[in-house]
Every structure is written in C-alpha cells, then in structure tokens.
Point group: C2
Chain length 332, copies 2
C-alpha cells in the first residue's frame, strides 16, 4: 500500500508493532473468552475481527448501533450491550446472539418487548453511574426468567478504580467492589460475571470475563499507570504554518482529538501550546528544524472519543501503510 507520508491529514495511525504487543500482553493474562473486548474503544469491525481471530469471540458494546454493526459484520457469536438502553427493540431481530444489561424494570420491559433473548443483571459496584442493588437485581432476574429470557449472570463496572495508580491498593479496592458482584452472582445465578477494564485487567481476578478495549490502542491517560500496554494510536498532522515568533501550526485540532482529558502530547522535540477547532499550535525546541509540509504525530489523551471523531484508522509499520481499518461503528 501507500507510504505514511502520503496519507491525508489529519489521520489516525496505528503502529502495528505496538498494537500486536498490546494484544499479546493482554492475551497472556486474559486468553480467549476470559476477555470480552469492548468495541466502544475502537469502533471498528476490522480491528474487532483481529481480536476474534485471536480467540476473543465474545464482545461488548456501549450502543445499539455498535451491536448492529458487529452483527452485520458476522461477529455476532456473543454480543453484550453492556449498557442500559430503552432502544433495544432493534436488537431483538438481529441475526446474532444478543444479551443486554438491565438495572431497572423499565429497561427490562424494553428488553422483553424488543424480543431480546438474554440479559445480564447490572449491579452497582461503586461507580456513580448505572447498576442496581442486589435485591433489585434478584427481582429483575426473577421477572426476566418468568418472561422466558435467559439470565446469563451479572455485570458490574468498577470504573472508579481504573486510575488507582498503586497496583496493590487497586487490587484491594477491586476485591471489595467485586465482593458485591460475587454476592449478587451467588443470588442471581448464571455463568457470567462480567466487569473490569484496561486499568484493572490483571487486578480484577474475580470476573469470568474482563470488558477491556482501550488496551489495543492506548492513550496518554492510561499510560500514567504501570500497565504492559503502550501507545499504538497517534493522530498524524501536517505543518501548515510556521511563525518567526517561535511556533508552528499543524492541521489537527479539537475536532480530531478527544479533549476531555486535555491536550494531546507531542514527542517534539517541543511542547503543545494549545488546540483550537482545526489547529494545534506547537512550540518546537528548534524552529529552524520545521517547515510547512512536515508531519507531526500527536498522542491523544483519551482514545475512545478520539477514534469516534474519525472515519478510518491506518495501520502502519515504520514508513509503510499496511492496512486501512474503517471506523464503521460510528455514533450511537
């Protein structure tokens, strides 16, 4: 295929060596069905297929459209909507094995009405977001079974513990959070205890499957932890202006970078001054090294919303583009 230098900009590029190393590091701890990759992190069935081919045949997603896209791509062996949605009627008729998370009567009603065959009971394990208490979960499981649905088990996302930097401290806190989930599992039944994420992929030893996706591409936020994954995803941009006052400007800004965790990083040598909608202004150590047309590589602070802004990723090895991965699970 093409050379990296000929790619249009701004573009998402994935370093294949880093990607493969990240996958190998995860697989050594979470092989096959011990991992349920989360497609919300990468929104690409081409990337998902790589994981499927490596033995991770079950996936989870955050939106109905992600589930539909995975089913359409023939990756529907075991799809979990790991999120509450009232808009699940569209999932009941898919040619795929679909399970949805439920944490209230209303969500369960939607799943039943929509013809969804299976549910996981979503338990609150400490993150202020979705999930119910155990007693509610028991009632929901009973009602789901009475309505003919399969209750495959429980899920609980300890998202509030992902960024605890001390691994021992994190492991202790995860154990406490998962004690609640295991208690719920004992009372509710089913084969699945689902939870975790990239930040707790090894400290969460309690779940039967870990829901992680960011480890494939990584970002500067997760890189502050001592994890065996490295940044595989960058945003490639072109220098479009240089100023004798000391800055250069490249054509990647707020609209091509996830900004909720702040500015991207730049290997430089130099630093990021600020991002605006379509620009990043950079302060290079040596202005004389830079000219219009040069390329810069930025590492986004947060992978998931960065990927969501693009139409494709380019898989690269050194200077060569070796594949194109459409971001074909866009929006919601």
């Amino acid at each position: 295929m093409a050379e990296v230098s000929s790619l249009p900009t701004p573009s998402l590029v994935v370093d294949v060596e880093a990607f493969d190393a990240n996958c190998a590091a995860m697989d050594s701890v979470r092989p096959g069905r011990d991992l349920r990759p989360h497609v919300k992190a990468f929104k690409s069935t081409a990337l998902a297929r790589r994981l499927h081919d490596a033995g991770h045949t079950a996936f989870c997603a955050a939106t109905p459209r992600e589930i539909e896209g995975m089913a359409a791509a023939g990756l529907g062996d075991d799809l979990l909507l790991a999120n509450e949605s009232l808009d699940v009627a569209r999932l009941g008729s898919l040619d795929a094995n679909v399970t949805v998370a439920v944490d209230s009567e209303s969500i369960l009603d939607a799943a039943i009405a929509g013809g969804v065959p299976s549910v996981l009971i979503d338990i609150d394990v400490g993150l202020p977001r979705c999930g119910c208490d155990i007693e509610t979960g028991e009632r929901l499981a009973e009602r789901a079974r009475a309505a003919g649905l399969s209750v495959r088990g429980v899920m609980g996302y300890e998202g509030h513990l992902m960024m605890v930097s001390d691994r021992n401290e994190q492991a202790e806190k995860v154990a406490l959070a998962m004690a609640t989930l295991l208690d719920a599992h004992e009372r509710i039944g089913g084969d699945i205890v689902s939870g975790g994420g990239t930040g707790t992929f090894d400290t969460n030893t309690w779940c039967t499957e870990i829901q992680a996706g960011s480890y494939t591409l990584m970002d500067t936020q997760y890189s502050t932890l001592d994890l065996p994954f490295r940044q595989a995803l960058g945003v490639l941009a072109t220098v479009i202006s240089t100023s004798p006052k000391g800055w250069i400007v490249a054509n990647a800004g707020l609209k091509s970078l996830g900004m909720d965790h702040g500015d991207p990083t730049w290997a430089g040598p130099g630093k990021v001054l600020y991002c605006s909608d379509e620009h990043v202004t950079l302060i290079p150590d040596d202005l004389g090294d830079w000219t219009v047309g040069d390329r810069v590589l930025l590492h986004p602070a947060h992978v998931d919303p960065t990927v969501a802004k693009h139409e494709r990723m380019w898989l690269v090895s050194g200077d060569d583009v070796i594949d194109e991965w459409p971001i074909d699970l866009p929006h919601w």
Copy 2:
C-alpha cells in the same frame, strides 16, 4: 413532523425561536455581505441555506471538505477557505467561486498548482496560529498576482480577543489588532478585509466582513459574554438509570458533547456530576421527580466540536419537530 419526545437520543436539537432571534440580532448589525458566515460552527448546508436566503451569500470554511460540500449544495457564490491547506488541488476544479487563505510560499505554491483562482493574504494579528507579517504578505501578493491569481484582499483573525469580557476593553484591543490588518490591506490591496468572529461581531468595526458562525447556535462559553445571542442548541438525552443514592444517568456523554471547555450545563433543577463516554451522571435536586425514560436537555460548553460529533440537528419549536438539518459537512 414528529414530536420532540419521539426523537432518538442523544440528539442535537435547535430551538427555532432562539435561532431566528440570533440571526435577526446579527443581521441588524451585519446585514448581507457584511457577514461571511463560518460553516465550521454548524457543518450543515441546510443551515447555511437559511443564512444565504437572508442575504449572506458569501461563506467561509475551515476545511477543503466543507468547501466541497458547500459547492455541491449550490452555495458556491463566494467560498473562502479561511485556513491554510496544502490539500487545495481538489478545490481548483470545483464549480464554485473559491478563494483560499495563504500565509507562506508553500501554501501559495499549492494554491497555484491546484488551480485556485483567488487568494486572501492571511496576516498575523496577534493570535498564536496562522498568518504572516506584512512584509511577507506583500511578497506573497506580488507573487500571486504574477502567477495570474486574484488577490482579493487580506484576512486576520483576532481569536485571542474573542473572550475579553469587558466590551470597551475588547474594542480597544480589537482596534489595535485591526490596525495591523488595515496597514497590510493598504499595502496589499483588494476589496476585502476579513476577520472577526461571534465574540467581536460588533466591536470589530474595521473589517469589511465578519467571519462568525457560533452566533447561530451559541454555547455556554460565549454565553459568559454580554452578547445579544442565546443558546439555541441543546443535546437531548434520555434517563436510562436512576439510583437511590441520589443520581440519575442519561445517555449523552463525551462522544456527543464537545468537552474542550468542560462539562455541559443542565437546567435541572440539579447539577452535572460528570461525563463519561456514553453517559452523563446528574444530581437532581429532587430524585423523586425522575424516572427512566424521562428526557433531559444539556447545553454544550462549545458548539463547534459538539456539532461535529453528530449526523443531524432537529429544528424544534416547543414540542414539535419542524425540520431536520443533516450535518453534511463532516470531518475535514
């Protein structure tokens, strides 16, 4: 058409009364060609057509794809790429009247090679981004004319002054910045002096045309200024979970909201706790008022990157949906 309550979520909704009032407020100060609406703020040819029909027949854009989309929609009377790009060859052959900004030999070379007929010389007026000094601008204009291009004038964006909250102080600073641009104009010639934005739409009395777009939809950032525009754009979301611990969760998160200026605001009554990828957790004043399936309306902190994350806007009047505006100028 439909009722607002039947819209899928998360969705962008535009309050037609606020939108019309914003347009009227701008038109009273900047009628017709005194305004060059910036499509980067709303990325929709349907919205652009409304402005065109009100007499604003010239537009500016930030990306080549926005220019192409405007030309394809028959809105190509006078299109300015108000940004430096090396990727302008695709604009030279459009069935439209295209002008591009240039601030260096390299960008001018690209415009010449790409067959672009007209340029504006982009002058640095104090924002650390694109734009050259006056002497460079003179040289570029001379070279452009020698190559047969039309030099229509100058542009200079005082983006660093948009958020100066004291209007008198802002007016003074804008006058200083524009003194540079007027000096450049005197030496470079042409009919156009282009600059400004929503934040300086009335204090920049120096330009022949103002480049503003956010005023149509508005955001919470610009709302901190004393401007005659109000928030017309909201993100409609559905409550998908409620917790007896005191929070509710709605299905709009980082991926449907521009986050570079922080969390959205919520009229509540209550407050925003935090956003994650697909969720916002809200603390309502009275939890008992809320149930799964209720709708909430969030106002994004920054319009431009919020719009860029969606596929369409719904124009609404009270409870009625009166039009759908596709966001048909996506990406770059």
